[in-house]
């Protein structure tokens, strides 16, 4: 269908050119001579009419292309705040589109209407304070309303996360995301220290902190539907930016400065698949801060589970310490007993984690 726009545009080009060319010929015939020396030449009318034609075609093609592209916009927001910001976006869009339409229409219409006519003289109209006051105050009021609603929403979105929020850490690196969960026992993420990073402990989890004993890592993000989720965001090497397009979540990941974003997912992966009629639909985390060669490919899959499925999934995950018992050595002696209860007596079955994912 987009070929059609392209085609129409090209047709318009040639139409415009031919209209101009024709009117020149006509004018030349009428006047008999080339009026090269006057400031107003034969193209003047064509250019003035062209302005109006341009705008008419613009409005038609613009509206059509909008309706055409609309089904491919992001689907309904899958988070509580996302619905609000989407509504605000489309309300603000309506306001600014109105302003855009009115002012452009006047601009192009005046260009057409007041094109040069040697029998007319322009009106000497240097100032009108009342008019100027009106169009200073009206935008100011509109802005004030937009600012106020925007500010209230922004304040709510960036407020403290509820204390019952599921705490999940996302760490950006070239080029991927590490996911770490706070674990089932204390619900708190243990410290990390970038100097402790090694081949296995790619996050640099600090095992002198007892909160880290039950933390577990994952390669995909699981979120509980309908419950607050607090993302704690870090970066290891350069800037990255956590972007969950369907949840309208975005926050930079900054080396040396943890950031956060909390939100409530409202639609589970299954519900979204049903809603969109796409059985293979998946939520995603992408990166939106340029971070190097692999920037565009830095994505992991997000599963929004029903709360009970989420609980089940979390319960089935093994703490990092359990899968990597060698790190027990790093635990200080006074905490060893606490840590060792995470170390499995028998070797772990390798296939247990796979079974539950919602695929």
């Amino acid at each position: 269908m987009n070929y059609l726009i392209g085609l129409l545009a090209i047709v318009f080009f040639f139409l415009a050119v031919s209209v101009i060319a024709k009117s020149v010929k006509l004018n030349n015939k009428l006047s008999g001579t080339e009026e090269d020396d006057s400031t107003v030449d034969n193209f003047n009318n064509a250019n003035g009419i062209g302005m109006l034609i341009f705008w008419l075609l613009f409005v038609i093609l613009g509206s059509w292309s909008f309706l055409h592209a609309r089904p491919d916009f992001l689907p309904i927001a899958a988070s509580e705040h996302g619905v609000k910001t989407d509504n605000m976006f489309w309300t603000s869009m309506a306001v600014v589109t109105f302003a855009f339409f009115i002012s452009n229409t006047l601009l192009f219409y005046f260009a057409y209407k007041y094109r040069f006519n040697k029998n007319r003289k322009a009106t000497f109209y240097p100032v009108n304070h009342k008019l100027e006051l009106v169009w200073t105050v009206i935008p100011a009021i509109v802005m004030a309303v937009l600012v106020f609603t925007g500010w209230r929403t922004w304040r709510d979105i960036t407020s403290q996360a509820p204390s019952n929020a599921a705490v999940i850490e996302l760490t950006g690196h070239q080029f991927g995301w590490y996911v770490r969960y706070a674990g089932v026992d204390d619900g708190q993420l243990g410290n990390v220290n970038y100097k402790l990073i090694d081949e296995t402990n790619s996050l640099g989890i600090d095992f002198t902190d007892k909160s880290s004993f039950d933390d577990f890592t994952a390669t995909e993000l699981h979120l509980p539907k309908g419950q607050p989720v607090l993302l704690k965001i870090r970066a290891q090497d350069v800037l990255h930016s956590v972007y969950l397009p369907f949840h309208r979540v975005k926050m930079d990941a900054v080396p040396g400065m943890p950031t956060k974003f909390w939100f409530i997912p409202t639609i589970s992966t299954d519900e979204m698949r049903a809603k969109l009629g796409k059985p293979d639909f998946n939520f995603k985390v992408n990166c939106t801060e340029v971070c190097g060669r692999g920037h565009f490919g830095m994505s992991i899959t997000v599963f929004v589970d029903e709360p009970e499925d989420y609980k089940k999934w979390v319960a089935e995950q093994k703490p990092f310490l359990a899968t990597n018992p060698a790190y027990l050595d790093k635990v200080p002696t006074n905490l060893k007993s606490k840590a060792s209860k995470y170390i499995p007596i028998e070797p772990i079955a390798t296939d247990s984690t796979e079974a539950v994912s919602v695929n």
Partner: protein
């Protein structure tokens, strides 16, 4: 073709030799054309450099548009030019893609729309329109260009080095730009970028100081501030913006140089990269962003204000009407200038900056929409009941106003921090700033070239080619950037080599549209060849210009058709009125130039203007003092 030009050159030089006979002191070729202190020559140097840069910057964008529009296409045919930047599978190298995005931004923002626009027209028009023989310091003005030239050479050379030019985006956020191990472009390419920008800033500051000094000190007698054309006001505010904000970019760049080369940790903290934990702790990557955007946001207005100023002048002239709300125009530019310094953090809503700051900056950002709206309304009202002459310059000016509105309204969306969460760093932003600052300023540049070409080169450009150039460019620009909003609303992030990782077939949904945008971009870019041909051909072969081709009021049209160094052969004219007396009731002509005293226009004077007649003597009395200031 080449012979045509060389003959033209001979004729041209011959003309000049002839002109030089009137000069008191002969300057050699080098002092006249290369190391010239004449503001007009320096302006032309800036303009031609800017045009060359625009073609380089534009062609880079075509290369990455090919990748975005035709992701399956084999780029093998570009291997003769790009060599190793085409990878083994015949595709653009992914790092080179980022390098092109980065260099396109850098070149367009700084080298084309700052130096090419402000450098050209501030230099050219300030002395001519305020009535001065030259800039306050011709020597510093010359240095300004040559620092820019040096900076250009360094930036250009960085395109050819093996590790590629800077690649971290034109904002060069550290740590990516600070760590050579993060990407090859952060090695020598970034060093050259920083060196080049340092010289660029020096050049900008030298220019800016000159513009400010000239406007304040060298106005001709009678040229009060409220009689200055809006062009001059806009150049004045632009220079103030640059003078106060470029040094901050320099400091940001210096700290980055320290971090890169001397082991400091201004921006670096707790970094583990390529299997190695770096020792740097305590730095803040956000600090850089604050410093960068403290320039970066005023930079938007540094780019835009001159375009708006010139547009004011061109629209008034060609509407044959005074600009509507002259004082409101100055006031809104003043407001924009002041606010430009306190809105920078709206680029950083989701960078982890304290959300309270986000609220403050959202509030300040949306205030700036008010003076911008006033300007747009004033332009539209100027057209109302005018008698519009569509010169190419006028067409580009109307185009500018349309683009300024269309791109400006989405700024209201992006300035809202709650809405920015989802739109930040998507194509919505790309569409927004390309319309409001890129295309609008570019249209201002084109309008300026078409309007003042006769004064620059004493010849006319071909108008018909100008119209064709305008329509292709105008339609093309909208075809490129209007659909980009849709891609942004669909959540496509910018600076992506390809959109496969978004998953869910979302890339497929916009394949056609991306292709459409790329084709439109190629057409628009190709149409600029019409301009280039018209421009360079007309310099040598254009029709000889009349003294005042657009029947304009400002002082530059009172100079000879080819003004010498010093601009006016005799006394500098005095100024008695504002520059917008077009179609004044009672006047025989539809324009009254600024140097016509009110005593000569009794039939058209407004009631309060008759009082001005008594002051004409005072203005004349200043002649001695004015001449004194030129004799050292």
């Amino acid at each position: 073709m080449s012979t045509a030009i060389s003959t033209a050159e001979e004729v041209h030089t011959h003309d000049h030799d002839h002109d030089h006979e009137h000069e008191h002191h002969e300057l050699g070729f080098i002092r006249t054309y290369i190391f010239s202190e004449d503001h007009k020559t320096i302006a032309k140097q800036y303009l031609i450099s800017g045009i060359l840069w625009a073609f380089i910057g534009g062609s880079l964008s075509i290369l990455f548009r090919l990748q975005l529009g035709f992701p399956e296409m084999s780029m093998e045919w570009l291997r003769p030019i790009l060599g190793g930047w085409i990878d083994d599978s015949g595709k653009l190298d992914k790092e080179f893609y980022l390098a092109m995005v980065t260099m396109h931004g850098t070149i367009m923002v700084f080298f084309v729309l700052t130096a090419g626009l402000s450098g050209t027209f501030s230099n050219f028009l300030i002395p001519l329109q305020v009535g001065a023989r030259d800039m306050a310091s011709g020597f510093i003005n010359m240095l300004s260009y040559w620092f820019f030239f040096l900076s250009s050479v360094i930036m250009f050379s960085s395109l050819f080095i093996e590790t590629g030019p800077a690649s971290g985006g034109w904002v060069i956020y550290p740590p990516l730009s600070a760590l050579p191990q993060a990407m090859p472009g952060s090695g020598l390419g970034m060093t050259l970028w920083l060196t080049s920008m340092t010289f660029f800033i020096v050049s900008s500051l030298m220019g800016g100081i000159n513009y400010i000094c000239t406007i304040i000190n060298l106005r001709t007698r009678g040229m009060t501030f409220t009689r200055m054309p809006l062009t001059i006001w806009s150049f004045f505010f632009t220079a103030v913006l640059g003078l106060l904000s470029f040094p901050v970019l320099l400091s940001a760049a210096l700290l980055l140089i320290f971090d890169r080369s001397f082991g400091t940790s201004f921006y670096l903290s707790e970094i583990y990269i390529q299997g190695q934990a770096l020792p740097n702790v305590g730095g803040s990557a956000i600090l850089y962003q604050h410093l960068f955007w403290f320039l970066g946001h005023p930079e938007v207005y540094i780019v835009l204000l001159p375009a708006l100023g010139m547009t004011s002048e061109i629209i008034a002239t060609n509407s044959r009407k005074p600009i509507f709300g002259y004082r409101a125009m100055i006031g809104s530019m003043m407001g924009i200038t002041a606010l430009a310094f306190i809105v920078w953090a709206h680029h950083m809503f989701v960078t982890g900056m304290n959300p309270f700051l986000g609220s403050v900056f959202m509030f300040l950002t949306l205030i700036i929409a008010v003076p911008s709206a006033v300007k747009a309304f004033n332009y539209i009202t100027t057209l109302w009941k005018g008698n519009l002459v569509f010169t190419p310059a006028m067409l580009f000016s109307i185009g500018l106003v349309s683009l300024f509105i269309s791109g400006g309204v989405t700024g209201i969306i992006l300035g809202n921090s709650a809405l920015d969460i989802n739109l930040h760093d998507t194509y919505f932003v790309v569409a927004h700033f390309h319309l409001v600052m890129g295309a609008a300023s570019f249209f201002g540049l084109m309008a300026g070239v078409y309007h003042w070409f006769p004064k620059m080169f004493g010849r006319m450009m071909n108008k018909s080619l100008g119209y064709i150039h305008f329509w292709f460019t105008f339609v093309g620009v909208y075809m490129v950037f209007f659909p980009m909003h849709y891609i942004g609303i669909a959540g496509f992030p910018r600076r992506y080599y390809t959109f496969t990782a978004l998953g869910n077939d979302s890339m497929a949904a916009f394949t056609d549209m991306n292709m459409f945008i790329s084709i439109a971009a190629i057409i628009t870019f190709s149409a600029q060849a019409i301009f280039a041909w018209n421009f360079f051909y007309s310099i040598f072969k254009g029709k000889i210009a009349p003294a005042n081709p657009w029947n304009s009021n400002t002082l530059e049209w009172t100079t000879p058709i080819n003004p010498e160094h010093g601009n006016w052969p005799g006394e500098i004219p005095a100024v008695y009125r504002w520059p917008y007396d077009y179609s004044k009731p009672g006047a025989p002509e539809d324009f009254i130039p600024q140097n016509v005293p009110h005593s000569a226009t009794l039939e058209s004077n407004l009631h309060e203007e008759n009082a001005e007649i008594a002051r004409e003597k005072d203005i004349e009395g200043l002649l001695g003092a004015q001449n004194e200031s030129y004799t050292h």
